[in-house]
Symmetry: C2
Subunit: 279 residues, 2 copies
């Protein structure tokens, strides 16, 4: 026991998990595009007791704005190629319109939200993706999430809402995948908190039958995951997501839950969604 | 741990002026439209020692985006009528594109900037303007600036960058004049700091001859101001600005300085600009 106390006194950062539980929740793109669903989701989010961080992506708004502005969009395997004009659009839509509307609504529901891009307070430092087969333009790969800043804001009773725009600390904003932002934030904060990372989307969880929403797997651990993969039960589109989920666990995240956007309360209570844990 | 302790100490509000000097600086619209000027201004701003808050407006970018999107803009006496589509545009441009680009550039110059709209952390609560002769749409008049939040962030070594978008705490974002944001922020923070409020624009200060930039008045106090007004020396467009400046002084702001954007350093040193003080 005495050694633990010594560590506490010596370190400027509190030891692992010292700050209690924290949720990092990624809001699904399908919700952002639907005003009624979004409002209901944010009400559920505001009602969650305890510390929490919300991460959002962009939905279809950026694509629509690009069309209105006559800026052609190039998508490759679901990823947007971010040229200079597109970076301007996603910065406006993600860090501006979507982030501030989410924050204003959470404020309405008495959740003291504060919206951040990765540039704000150097929250998320990234670098422009290089050496890939394809040039993704101003796409950022995350280097570091500023857990100290986020912790400071949380301790001052703020709920962080993260937009998927990062920066390189050299003046360049970068477009970054929101799933990755959620994962990296969860990993960084797991040094301070017991983190549950929750991905919400349009299904109830990881399905064994793609046409049956009730066929979701309740719990996945490495060995059952291997079993499902061998049998080919889990759809190939889910595999990278699940590989990432297990990677997050290996970095200290307590559990990852994948579940339906309109069942956030049940996910928190543990009665819905697929929970991914280590053995 | 020490930063957490500081925050906790700061949240019990210290007495009047206890926190030392602070600058609230409004960046001129003409600078935001010019990439080279903006970069140079932000470098000067980053170099200012001590505590500081930057307030920006929107320049001509919102008007250009509205044109691109085919959204007609209605301006009445220099004020934008903010319908729903226009609110979306100014939220994207002011709180998104401009705010995040300023923050990213300041981060590059090692100024730990964090951008906020009025919705973030309930930084600036406003109400939709009502009872005016004309319906300005989603235009917000400021009710309250959250000095405690700003103080908490400043104490944690952040430099606030405020976008002129506020909210009503009922989920509605509102478009708000940036000069007003700067003034209200200076007034609210003058309860905690000795605040200098600096407005930068394209002239060297309040001119006695509109065609001669060197004719700027070095200092204005209420009696000299009355004298200039009686003689009709000061252009009518400056009168509301100066009335507001004196009002800010009456609310506790230490001094107001009006000066040229590219002479920020000299303004800080007291060798340029018009300084407005009470007797």
């Amino acid at each position: 026991m005495s050694s633990v106390i010594n560590i506490k006194e010596a370190s400027s950062v509190p030891p692992l998990g010292d700050q209690g539980a924290l949720y990092v929740i990624k809001i699904g793109g399908n919700v952002i595009d639907d005003e009624v669903k979004l409002s209901s989701f944010l009400q559920d989010f505001a009602a969650i007791e305890g510390k929490k961080v919300l991460v959002h992506g962009g939905g279809k708004l950026a694509t629509r704005l690009a069309e209105q502005m006559g800026v052609q969009q190039q998508m490759v395997e679901g990823r947007r190629i971010t040229d200079a004009e597109t970076l301007k659009i996603v910065t406006m839509v993600y860090a501006g319109y979507i982030n501030k509307n989410i924050v204003a609504q959470l404020q309405r529901y008495d959740c003291n939200a504060i919206g951040l891009s990765g540039a704000d307070g150097n929250a998320i430092k990234a670098h422009k993706r290089a050496g890939a087969e394809r040039d993704y333009g101003f796409a950022g790969d995350v280097d570091e999430v500023n857990a100290e800043l986020i912790n400071t804001l949380i301790e001052a009773d703020n709920t962080i809402v993260l937009a998927p725009i990062t920066h390189d600390k050299k003046g360049q904003l970068l477009n970054t995948n929101a799933d990755t932002i959620a994962q990296e934030t969860a990993k960084a904060l797991s040094k301070l908190y017991e983190v549950d990372l929750i991905y919400t989307f349009e299904k109830k969880g990881v399905l064994t039958n793609i046409d049956d929403d009730e066929s979701y797997i309740k719990q996945l651990d490495p060995s059952s995951y291997e079993g499902y993969k061998e049998k080919g039960t889990i759809s190939s589109g889910m595999i990278p997501k699940l590989d990432n989920a297990f990677a997050a666990l290996n970095f200290g995240v307590k559990k990852v839950i994948i579940g339906k956007s309109d069942e956030l309360q049940q996910i928190i209570e543990g009665t819905s969604g697929t929970t991914i844990v280590n053995d």
